[in-house]
């Protein structure tokens, strides 16, 4: 029996051998440019016989004579079926996946093919971010996506970058979008350097970014539910592609300088203005020019010139990427050194990244994406902005008629010939002697495993961490400024922040007949925690020893504390459905529990739904002009958890009454506090006209209710900071957005592409509290029925040309003028008849409904040209319709003190008939400079953000040197800004990330203009 079996087997084998007569086919797989495609799978169609290509793209495969064709596939390339002819060698060319067709968009926990998108998402490619001398990647988004307003509030390193997706969605809760990088919710905002702002996003290496997706409407963003009402930014970092390793080296170097300057008086002008002010007021002259350093020359110092410089910047990035069929990797090392134009202000960043994914088995994939960064920020030791020793306050207001150094070469500290002292500490001295340095180490990491349970069903588990450890070292020298009174001060703050999150998702995608179905279910837990450790030393003994120890300081002390302590538990799910690829619909829901709410109001539910119809796929669609057209509509609800750690909990905190321990209320609490909800409706269409003109148009309307507001309350209530966190009122925003991409010319040798985007936004206040009360924020007001944060000011009526007096309109429109030389009771008179009248006061403020800090129309225009090896690009950003309150100028024309002043004051009225906006110089007159429309200016601007010209060396030349590509380029960042605004910058914003009180320009450092020259090298 056994024998017969053996025989049978033999026979079978023989027959098989007979059947499977084979021949060997060799070949090479390459891409369209002829580069080898390694790791591509080559399979005989209809069999399991297959192989993969080697590093050179070569393969060798035995095929049965009966075989008709080979199936060749590789990641990132379109699958190709290749007929086997008679020959034994084959050259196979694979086409890269059609980018526009197959472009995928990252939407939270899954990706969607761009054509199947039902929500409103804008995508910014990494190429628009890399190689530019931005201090953080968010700055590069300005003008790049319709409806996304990105404003850098000043040129100081670390200055906050405000991002508003479709305007403000809240009154006092944060309106910054949630930023998620490779699934990791990022720590944002200020890291807590002592006297300098920092931007946590500066730790991200911009050159590692593959793309940034902005999820704008509710259907796109709602998968992040409670944190999504400000929109969501999804950052995807670069990853490797199977194939031979690619090595790139990118570098640039250059310098930066202030993009704009405000001019202040020089020595002789200053002396003349001050003394005119004094004598007009019947006072003795108080300023004199002189030689206070004994060099024989009358001192005349341009402090801006002394404090600003050409700062050197350079950047280096090495990237290596590649992979096999199963494993891909991307690794990079980056170093960036940016010296700002302000002396001592500098940021250095070194970043390393490794992104690695591997298929362990056919059904199990793991991956890790991690980044380690070290960022050192050398801040201004004496503070920034409007601080007495800050920049630009110091250089703008210091006496110009005193020297920088005295006769001995030491910093000059005195008042020179100025007898009415109002000293600004020597700006050069405070910058050089004091420091505020932060050393920050950040580790952002995600690891995941993904299991294919069944066909189309994937279980993914990802653990994310964002950790940063910072150390701030701050010092005030005893010789000058604030350090003088303290006999020297040293302070250090060690901060430790960590966010972890863990999510598990089930993704099921299937296709049956004409139906496409995708289902997502998941859970995520997020915990944020941050602590600080602060110590200080006062009364320095030996200035060369800076370590804080009782041995070297008269007094030392310190404290520990917890800055952040909150968590979020989330469950979410979604269904995507498509029918015949024409009718698309999706539904998502997320429920979040935030630790900061009371137990009963903790859970919030955020559903959204959307639908799209690809009309152009219908048989009736015959238009040749519009080749692709998709209509979209969505509605959904998002929330806002940007409300601090324990807003609902009434708490006492330990305090001290000097040596006696005390307890004080630190939060009044509000156990009724509940989720703020934004309902957003969006309708839009995506259209392709002719050969590649892409048009995306959206209209949205969103309404936020139960606004969580740090409600300003009367001092007589007696809560800390005069606020209580309450759900109050609602606001409504609406707007249009358009994005256009036009390949104007698309020839082999010459290409010209224009991208344009624009957006309108109007945000109205629907209601405030139960009493409909106004909410005030500096110069702005929140009043039901009016535009969000409309300016609320006294109306300036110019200078009376007959007598040089400042005039204003009272609340009834009656013009009143002010004469400081008159007795106190008779200073205000009516312009019409000169009769004594009541004073212009705060009661004369009016709501300027059309004048808000939010632009009415804003966006960007980018153009690129390619001619043979040359490329040229322009990035333009524009903003129209916003207003900025020029508090800087207000301070620089004050007549109550003797600090240096703006050259504007030279226009002061001197004689009857003078037409001017600057009243007669009169020392002590403080009414013309009160907060009025005199200082409210249009903030329209067009900014050339970037001009770049490049030359790519011809391939032939490079081949000999075995270089894949080499490009050299030169660029200007912030080349110029066209604006009528007279202050620092039309985007200046002194109040940080706020919604009311935006648009106040208070001594913000100018933006930097940076010139660089760079090289992109690929091996």
């Amino acid at each position: 029996m056994r024998k017969s079996v053996t025989l049978l087997c033999f026979a079978l084998l023989s027959s098989l051998m007979l059947l499977a007569q084979t021949r060997t086919i060799k070949g090479r797989v390459a891409d369209e440019k002829g580069n080898p495609v390694s790791g591509a799978s080559v399979q005989v169609r209809g069999t399991k016989t297959g192989t993969t290509t080697d590093a050179e793209g070569n393969f060798s495969i035995a095929v049965p004579t009966t075989a008709k064709s080979l199936l060749v596939s590789s990641l990132n390339y379109a699958n190709k079926e290749f007929a086997i002819g008679n020959g034994n060698t084959l050259a196979i060319t694979l086409k890269a996946n059609d980018a526009s067709l197959e472009e995928v968009v990252v939407m939270g926990y899954s990706t969607v093919r761009k054509t199947n998108l039902t929500g409103s998402v804008a995508k910014v490619a990494g190429t628009e971010i890399e190689n530019r001398p931005n201090l953080s990647f968010d700055q590069a988004l300005a003008g790049k996506a319709a409806g996304v307003q990105v404003s850098t509030s000043s040129g100081l390193i670390g200055a906050p970058v405000n991002i508003r997706v479709r305007g403000a969605s809240s009154i006092s809760s944060g309106s910054q979008p949630l930023i998620v990088m490779d699934g990791v919710p990022l720590i944002q905002g200020d890291n807590g350097q002592l006297y300098n702002p920092t931007n946590a996003l500066a730790d991200i290496n911009p050159n590692d970014i593959e793309s940034v997706e902005v999820l704008k409407d509710a259907s796109a963003a709602s998968i992040y539910g409670s944190r999504a009402s400000g929109g969501v930014l999804m950052i995807t970092t670069k990853k490797g592609k199977s194939g031979a390793p690619k090595i790139t080296y990118n570098t640039y170097f250059g310098y930066s300088q202030p993009a704009r300057m405000m001019n202040v008086l020089d020595g002789p002008q200053y002396t003349s203005v001050i003394n005119t002010m004094r004598t007009n007021a019947g006072l003795t002259a108080s300023a004199a020019n002189g030689d206070y350093n004994g060099d024989g020359i009358t001192d005349n110092t341009d402090w801006q010139d002394k404090v600003y410089r050409k700062g050197v910047t350079h950047d280096h990035q090495i990237g290596i990427s590649g992979g096999s069929e199963r494993t891909t990797y991307y690794a990079s090392l980056g170093f960036n050194d940016f010296e700002n134009y302000i002396i001592v202000n500098r940021q250095k960043r070194a970043a390393a990244r490794l992104n690695l994914t591997t298929k362990v088995t056919n059904w199990f994939e793991i991956g890790i994406k991690s980044q380690f960064t070290r960022t050192t920020l050398y801040g201004l030791g004496s503070g920034t902005g409007a601080a007495l020793s800050g920049v630009p306050f110091g250089p703008l207001t210091a006496y110009p008629n005193v020297p920088v150094y005295d006769a001995t070469g030491a910093y000059y500290i005195g008042n020179g010939g100025n007898t009415v002292a109002q000293n600004t500490p020597n700006p050069v001295a405070v910058q050089n002697l004091n420091y505020d340095t932060r050393d920050n180490r950040r580790f952002i990491n995600s690891v995941y495993g993904e299991i294919s349970l069944l066909k189309g069903l994937k279980l993914k588990s990802q653990y994310n961490t964002d950790m940063q450890i910072g150390f701030t070292d701050q010092y005030w020298d005893p010789a000058v400024g604030d350090g003088q009174g303290l006999a020297g001060l040293a302070q250090t703050v060690a901060t430790d922040s960590r966010v972890w999150s863990w999510f598990n998702t089930l993704n099921y995608n299937t296709k049956f007949g004409d139906h496409d179905l995708g289902v997502l279910a998941g859970a995520e837990y997020t915990k944020s925690y941050a602590t600080f450790n602060y110590i200080f030393g006062l009364g320095l003994n030996d200035p060369l020893i800076r370590i804080i120890t009782p041995a070297n300081y008269a007094t030392t002390g310190g404290e520990n504390g917890i800055d952040v302590n909150n968590g979020l538990a989330s469950y979410f799910g979604g269904v995507n459905y498509g029918y015949k690829g024409k009718y698309l619909a999706s539904f998502n829901i997320r429920s979040d529990a935030y630790s900061g709410f009371g137990r009963t109001n903790r859970w919030g539910y955020f559903p959204s739904g959307s639908a799209a119809w690809k009309i152009s796929q219908e048989s009736f669609w015959k238009s040749r002009l519009i080749t692709d057209l998709k209509l979209r509509a969505s509605y959904g609800i998002t929330g806002n958890s940007n409300i601090g750690n324990y807003p609902s909990l009434a708490t006492f905190a330990p305090t001290q009454y000097a040596n006696i321990a005390s307890l004080n209320l630190n939060n009044p609490g509000n156990s009724n506090l509940r989720w703020e909800q934004t309902g957003q409706f969006d309708v839009g269409f995506d259209m392709v006209i002719g050969k590649g003109i892409n048009v995306v148009i959206d209209y949205y309307k969103k309404r936020t209710k139960d606004l969580i507001l740090d409600n300003p309350i009367l001092a007589t209530v007696g809560f800390p900071g005069n606020t209580i966190t309450e759900n109050i009122g609602s606001i409504e925003a609406s707007g249009f957005e358009i994005a256009l991409n036009v390949p104007v010319i698309n020839k082999r040798d010459f290409k010209w592409n224009i991208s344009f985007n624009g957006a309108t936004n109007k945000t109205k206040v629907i209601s405030t509290n139960a009493f409909g009360n106004d909410i005030f924020g500096g110069q702005s007001i929140v009043r039901p029925g009016y535009n969000m944060s409309a300016f609320y000011l006294i109306r300036w009526a110019g200078v009376n040309s007959a007598n040089g007096m400042p005039t204003f309109l009272d609340v009834n429109g009656v013009a009143k003028q002010y004469d400081h030389s008159a007795p106190a009771a008779n200073r205000w008179t009516r312009v019409s008849d000169g009769a004594v009248t009541t004073a212009i006061t705060a009661a004369d403020r009016v709501v300027l409904n059309d004048k808000t800090p939010y632009p009415k129309f804003f966006g960007g225009l980018s153009q690129s040209f390619n001619y043979k090896q040359l490329d040229l690009s322009f990035d333009l950003q524009y903003s129209l319709g916003a207003y900025t309150f020029n508090n800087t100028l207000q301070n620089l024309v004050l007549m109550t003190g003797t600090r240096n002043k703006s050259v504007e004051i030279l226009k002061a009225w001197t004689k009857a008939g003078d037409q001017t906006d600057v009243p007669r110089l009169f020392f002590g007159e403080n009414q013309s400079t009160l907060g009025s429309t005199r200082f409210l200016e249009k903030a329209d601007f067009v900014r050339m953000r970037n001009i770049q010209i490049g030359y790519t060396l011809p391939k032939k030349l490079l081949e000999k040197a075995k270089i894949a590509n080499l490009r050299v380029y030169a660029q200007v960042q912030n080349a110029f800004t066209i604006t009528g605004y007279k202050g620092m910058d039309p985007e200046s914003n002194a109040n940080g990330n706020v919604n009311i009180g935006l648009g106040i320009d208070t001594f913000r450092p100018y933006l930097a203009r940076t010139f660089t020259f760079g090289i992109n090298l690929g091996l």
């Binding site: 109002q422 968590g567 300003p712």
Partner: protein, 491 residues
């Protein structure tokens, strides 16, 4: 297999539930739930201390409040123009100086009210006697704060007959939410004084004379019978109720509330190590780690080694304009000149010398004031020249003028001469301790010979009751009150 799948689901469920709990159930380790603030004897007492801590605000009694009163007066000038239009009586209604005072004042009152309510709501946590004592401390704090606020934001008591002019809102209840009842109109000055006197009288009855020992830290920084009486005497004096001012201050002098005495030297109550002498009745303490910091501390403003913002004007130094300030007065030793090129030509007070740690205590109630209050009240009440008033005046004057002959009744031609001498002595003795401007105003005086920041330019005279001689109600508060809070005329 089935069992394994089942078990892994159970395991996953347990894991997820514990994760959910970990991220949502967060108890702050650095704070105390308000329910617990009065739950033990120790916590209740510490919460009462919170009301003192509120008074100690940098914007209030640990520095700025005293500075403003002196800046509005004519004995110092704002050398560095740090205080802008404040000393020029030319503030705008949104001035931060006024806002800071108002907020700190009402936070102090609210903190005291909160503690009173907390003690009442948790009976038995402390003994009834202790609860009375702690409540009395709160009443004292509320009275102190109301007194400073009403004098900053309203015209003096005698501005109208019967003090019917606008004072400040009186707040005696504890608010736990944004209660519309907190939007109170301004009571009249008379009503405010009545409330202050009632609080102080109640406090005086229940407060302890000392905490531990007479010179203990707490006895000098917490409310005592003597502190309540000394303040009550001042309130009566400001009100022009000389009879009561006299009787209350006499109780302090007679030792009814403990023994107080002048130190041997006029400088004896100032500077480190001198804060707890028998001369101090009540001060706001500061220490190295808890003080008003670089821009607010008394030594930073007053001491030439600090910012040296506030220089002593010639109006104070010259005997022509300060007639009772003799050349041999030992209090001249408290005047020092600056040491840097910028300050060398100016003069400063040495009452707050602790620039190194900024720990100088703010002297609020000092025994010398009680003596002078008694002298003034007694002199006012008397029909002729009051011998007792002269005697108390001598107590203060003698230690500063060891070589000079004592005053006798014969030194004064009229009662007015005596009162002027007492007011003159008060100006010198209590200089730079937050008295000057109000001492001028309460007797319907005019601020003259006041210098601008250069120390040379003379500012316009400021008459009693002039519009801007009081501070503006902070514009933000007027706005928030929707018309309930009436702004002071002129702002």
């Amino acid at each position: 297999m089935k069992k394994n799948i089942f078990n892994s689901f159970i395991l996953a469920g347990v894991l997820l539930a514990s994760c959910q709990k970990e991220v949502t159930e967060i108890v702050p380790p650095d704070r105390l739930s308000s329910d617990l603030a009065f739950s033990t004897a120790q916590k209740a007492e510490t919460s009462v201390m919170g009301a003192y801590n509120a008074l100690q605000s940098a914007d209030y009694l640990s520095g700025r409040a005293l500075v403003y009163i002196d800046l509005l007066g004519n004995d110092i000038y704002d050398r560095t123009n740090f205080f802008g239009d404040l000393p020029r009586f030319n503030l705008l209604s949104n001035a931060g100086f006024a806002g800071g005072l108002w907020n700190a004042g009402y936070i102090s009152i609210a903190t005291a009210n909160r503690a009173i309510a907390g003690l009442a709501a948790n009976p038995g946590v402390v003994t009834a006697a202790k609860a009375k004592e702690l409540t009395a401390e709160c009443l004292f704090i509320r009275a102190v704060s109301s007194f400073y606020l009403v004098n900053f934001f309203a015209h003096p008591y005698n501005f109208t007959a019967g003090a019917t002019h606008l004072g400040i809102p009186i707040v005696t209840e504890n608010f736990t939410s944004n209660d519309p009842a907190a939007n109170k109109p301004r009571s009249t000055v008379a009503q405010v004084y009545t409330a202050i006197i009632s609080d102080l009288t109640a406090a005086l009855a229940d407060l302890p004379a000392i905490y531990g020992t007479a010179a203990s830290y707490a006895s000098k920084t917490r409310a005592t019978k003597a502190a309540a009486a000394a303040l009550l005497a001042r309130v009566h004096l400001y009100k022009g109720d000389y009879a009561n001012a006299k009787s209350v201050s006499l109780n302090v002098i007679n030792g009814q509330y403990g023994t107080f005495a002048l130190n041997a030297s006029p400088a004896g109550a100032f500077g480190p190590a001198n804060y707890q002498t028998a001369e101090s009745i009540w001060s706001i303490p500061n220490n190295t780690t808890d003080n008003p910091n670089t821009n607010n501390a008394l030594p930073q403003h007053y001491f030439p080694g600090g910012r040296g913002d506030l220089a002593i004007s010639t109006n104070f130094r010259d005997i022509a304009t300060n007639p009772y300030f003799a050349v041999d007065d030992r209090r001249r030793n408290l005047i020092i000149s600056g040491t840097t090129s910028a300050t060398a030509s100016s003069f400063f007070t040495n009452k707050y010398p602790d620039i190194a740690t900024r720990s100088d205590w703010a002297p609020i109630l000092r025994y010398a004031e009680v003596l002078l209050t008694y002298a003034e009240a007694s002199a006012q009440v008397a029909t002729g020249i009051d011998a007792d008033a002269v005697a108390k005046l001598n107590l203060v004057r003698d230690r500063a003028r060891v070589g000079a002959p004592q005053y006798t009744i014969a030194s004064f031609a009229t009662k007015t001469d005596l009162i002027n001498a007492i007011l003159g002595e008060r100006r010198i003795e209590l200089a730079f301790e937050g008295h000057r401007f109000w001492d001028i105003m309460r007797v319907k005086g005019t601020v003259t010979n006041k210098f601008d920041g250069d120390g040379v330019t003379v500012l316009p005279a400021q008459a009693f009751g002039a519009n801007k001689s009081i501070l503006p109600i902070p514009q933000a508060e007027v706005d928030k009150s929707a018309g309930i809070l009436v702004q002071n005329t002129g702002y």
